[in-house]
């Protein structure tokens, strides 16, 4: 009741200071955390690209004299059972741990959006069948499905990308289909007042700007999930195989040593995963706060 009064009161008087840009800037500054997170992502990508030049040691070179050493000045994050330098391995692993999630997320976004939009546009029994398939796929918890698929088709990098993408496709599919249905209804309603059916071109052209933001938000959040999935698959031995380094796989190597006190081998890769997923989640949340309500209001 009280808020209604306030709204009614200022509904017709435009504020002098409240331009769209001013309110955008206000919210941008409010989301300082997301800005920091975004910068960290850029930093991570740079590190991953420059990995071979940044890493202090060769990640695959064993050193029998420096086996299982705790963090020291020589090896900042310690060494593993073969004497390999942890820091170098973590830096090198960032390549795989960023690339695979990124490509799979992109793939899922493209495929899922396309199928979803087409299915929503077509309607009829095609749409129904697609939705039933999606329902069946979503009946499996995503990670469990990933396990099954990887066990079935093998764990090369391509396969891993495919598998993670497949488990993510339904989300984008549903999202785009919903947008498409909404869009189609609007266009058909408008067309009903004029003459003729809207062409698929008009519908798709209108669809793109409307769904751009939610897709970006979803994709950013999905990156975090993809990183976790890859790490978990590698941990149980279904993902990246040694001697290639990957954070989850490194944690697995260090697991049995946790109980004997070699904490650094599992801790640091885990922190790497945590930080990576965290920053993607923060950026995704920030993007959502910033862009979504405005886009909806258009």
């Amino acid at each position: 009741m009280t808020i209604d009064i306030a709204r009614a009161a200022y509904a017709d008087a435009p504020a002098a200071t409240d331009t769209a840009f001013a309110s955008f800037r206000r919210r941008l500054l409010r989301n300082k955390l997301s800005c920091v997170a975004f910068c960290t992502i850029v930093l991570l990508v740079v590190i991953a690209i420059l990995a071979p030049w940044i890493a202090p040691f060769d990640p695959n070179e064993p050193d029998a004299n420096a086996v299982l050493q705790p963090p020291s000045w020589a090896h900042v994050l310690g060494t593993d059972a073969y004497g390999r330098d942890e820091l170098s391995r973590i830096i090198t692993a960032s390549r795989v741990d960023l690339l695979v999630p990124f490509v799979s997320t992109l793939l899922a976004l493209l495929i899922g959006s396309l199928i979803g939009a087409l299915s929503g546009f077509r309607g009829g029994w095609v749409d129904q069948i697609v939705m039933r398939i999606v329902d069946a796929v979503m009946a499996f918890p995503a990670f469990v499905l990933a396990m099954g698929l990887t066990a079935a088709i093998g764990s090369s990098i391509t396969n891993l990308i495919l598998v993670i993408a497949v488990t993510q496709v339904p989300v984008y599919l549903r999202q785009l289909r919903a947008e498409m249905l909404r869009e189609r209804e609007m266009e058909y309603a408008q067309a009903a007042q004029t003459v003729g059916n809207p062409t698929w071109r008009i519908v798709f052209i209108h669809l793109f700007p409307n769904c751009f933001t939610p897709l970006i938000v979803q994709a950013t959040l999905a990156m975090g999930y993809a990183v976790l999935t890859l790490a978990a698959l590698s941990y149980i031995g279904l993902g990246i195989q040694p001697p290639d380094s990957e954070w989850g796989e490194m944690i697995s190597e260090g697991a049995s040593l946790m109980v004997t006190g070699q904490w650094w081998l599992s801790l640091f890769p885990g922190i790497a995963i945590l930080v990576t997923v965290l920053i993607f989640n923060l950026v995704g949340d920030g993007l959502r706060d910033l862009l979504d309500p405005r886009m909806r209001g258009k």
Binding site: M1, D12, A13, D18
Partner: protein, 326 residues
Amino acid sequence: MRNLLEVENLVVHFDTDGGLVEVLDDVNFTMRAGETLGLVGESGSGKSVSAIAVLGMIRRPGRILAGSIRFEGIDLLRLSEDEMRRYRGRRIAMIPQRYRTALNPVISAGRLISRLFEIHEGCSRAAASRRALELLDLVGVADPPRCMQQYPHQLSGGMCQRVMIAMALATSPRLLIADEPTTGLDVSIAARILELLRDLSKRTGTAILLITHDLGVVAQTCQRVAVMHAGQLVETAPVRELFRSPAHPYTRALVRSIPRIDVEVKLEPVPGTIPSLRHPPTGCRYRNRCPHAMEICQHDKPRQAAVGLDHEVSCFAFGEHCDAAA
């Protein structure tokens, strides 16, 4: 005889995203025990906020800047939250505006009423249930035992409103605030609800603050009327007096805008729109819509002046600056 309710110099502001909204500006009115006062105005005039203020429920982003609300002699604004809670639902009760959504959907109608007895009067469950049943009968529900078991989504609009009234009356409050009690109701049902309120007031001696934008409702049910415009109280008068000789230009415009069956009269809508409360006009807030606006209306706020028995108006056209009022 002491007044039941005395609202004096009430100022309420809201800090919204769009800026500061001055919702209530120096509002004054009183109520006597057992009387029915209609609080009238267009939407956005501050009627509901006044009611919420009486209940002590103004919360962030709203705040009370000044004034006092004396109920049975005690200033409610000075009370702590705990003390105020003892008034709510017990000595002062409100029937909210949207009565349909004001009923908790997962609790049965009977329980909604009976638990009030348990909480406010310490009744046993069985006794409370019995009293709820009686109350439903009192408010004119056709089949009280059945209604007790039903959930809000199963009740019609009229029944919801009756349940709401029953809840408000549960503890025999001295003051009942009814916020737009007839919105969304069928005309015949609305008439019955109003009749019910009148009856109950007479029977239980409860004073009713009836908030509405509909002068017709006021004419049917109230003894006195207070007219609000843009957060300012402009006129108070007994009902008959108000319709017979409205004083304030706004009231006159309102009365003129009512369609009449008996006489052919030219309908004149009230000129202009409610001014923005974020940048309200200085002085009298009606001056931009008023055909009689004077120089002084721009910078001074009009004070209350008596123009008849129990009839007060806030307008520079009356009182010391008495000008010819057409």
